[in-house]
Symmetry: C2
Subunit: 236 residues, 2 copies
């Protein structure tokens, strides 16, 4: 008889400790914490099965007993940092509560800059994700809308937060960790962009660049985007 066909995996459905066999030497929490530490310190590309196994003092392939595929390791990481959320008692002002949560998300992503890149609809069912979602819905209790719409609100906020913070992080990361200086990078981009814009093919872009041009306050942009998103639902 052929071996069993591959089965769908949801890592959260698989028990941490199997009945038979030797007692596992490590816990899922250990593994996740190690991967998070490595990613925070050396970037997400440093998170390889070899590296994490090494950090844990186990052979590379032993890690596969705990984490069947690398993607699952990412899933563990996202769940692990999601435990950092604080869920204070909802105030009754759903807008303020959701804003607070979004700000927490932003801080979380700044603490773990690899997080936006791992955000995926697929990871939406980890234990801490469920708790997060339940808390969001609790904050939205005062809002008289069907749950379907509330879910869309949560999705919209998540989308805004993820995209905007990803942008913040991308620009910040490019500043450091590149073999050339930020000034050089800026100079090259400005020179190129200036040339294009000066060509006259993009009059509105040119006008846009000419407009005031004070330094962009990323946090203010973030707050505005959030408020607009919430207003869209408040009006509903």
């Amino acid at each position: 008889m052929a071996g069993r066909a591959a089965e769908p995996e949801v890592i959260w459905a698989r028990p941490e400790r199997a009945g038979r066999g030797p007692r596992p030497a490590h816990s899922r929490a250990d593994i996740a914490a190690t991967a998070v530490r490595v990613a925070d310190a050396e970037g997400i590309d440093a998170v390889s099965m070899r590296k994490i196994a090494g950090e844990l003092g186990m052979g590379t392939m032993s890690l596969y007993n705990y984490v069947p595929r690398k993607e699952d390791l990412y899933e563990l990481m996202v769940d692990a940092v999601s435990a950092e959320y604080a869920f204070p008692e909802p105030s009754g002002d759903w807008r303020a509560d959701v804003l607070g949560l979004a700000r927490q998300s932003r801080e979380l992503m700044h603490r773990h800059p690899w997080l936006p890149g791992l955000m995926s609809p697929v990871y939406g069912f980890s234990p801490n994700a469920l708790a997060y979602l339940e808390y969001c819905l609790t904050c939205l209790d005062p809002l008289d809308l069907p749950y379907g719409t509330k879910m869309e609100l949560v999705a919209a906020v998540t989308s805004v937060v993820t995209t905007y913070v990803a942008n913040e992080i991308a620009t910040a990361e490019r500043t450091r960790s590149l073999p050339w200086s930020a000034e050089q990078e800026q100079a090259v981009r400005i020179a190129y962009l200036g040339g294009q814009v000066a060509s006259g093919r993009y009059p509105r872009l040119a006008a846009s660049f000419a407009e005031d041009a004070g330094p962009i306050d990323l946090e203010a942009v973030f707050e505005r985007a959030l408020r607009r998103t919430l207003e869209g639902f408040a009006a509903e």
Copy 2:
């Protein structure tokens, strides 16, 4: 004297044909089109420097004469498919025009499912991206807002489109191309989720799942998200 230090690269600033040396045997357009074709047919993971060079009939390392880093190849790809946009004369109804553009984006991403994953603020300066941005601003001419705010509108729409279509594609892709059937996957996820929700720890989630539960119309969700986003700016 040591060799020159690494210099910042903007591929669009580097001329396609250098003055000296033999005439290049391929064009950037060829290369981009080949990479797009491979990504469309076999997925973005099939786009490797070796593979693309092979498809073009050149040695692997020759490709590096055209594309200094793999990231630049991605940038070429994004720019290439951005040429598929149609830019009809703006109607004067900025909302309708922007909606039309967003729908074009959605279709573009469905034609090239790898596109959302390559979207990055960094690629915002390719020739076709500039043309897209200029056209967006043209559509927004009737709207009396500073260019800074119009740029935020464009960013907000882009964010919504990218996130939502990425979700659509992720769920669709997981359905095919997995070694197990969609029904199995569904069954496992439902079983796990059902168990969690039934535990009583997530009463609002449970209520949400219980609510009507007709099949989700992804396109309708997309349209609603867009309209809410635009309303946020119309009210400003």
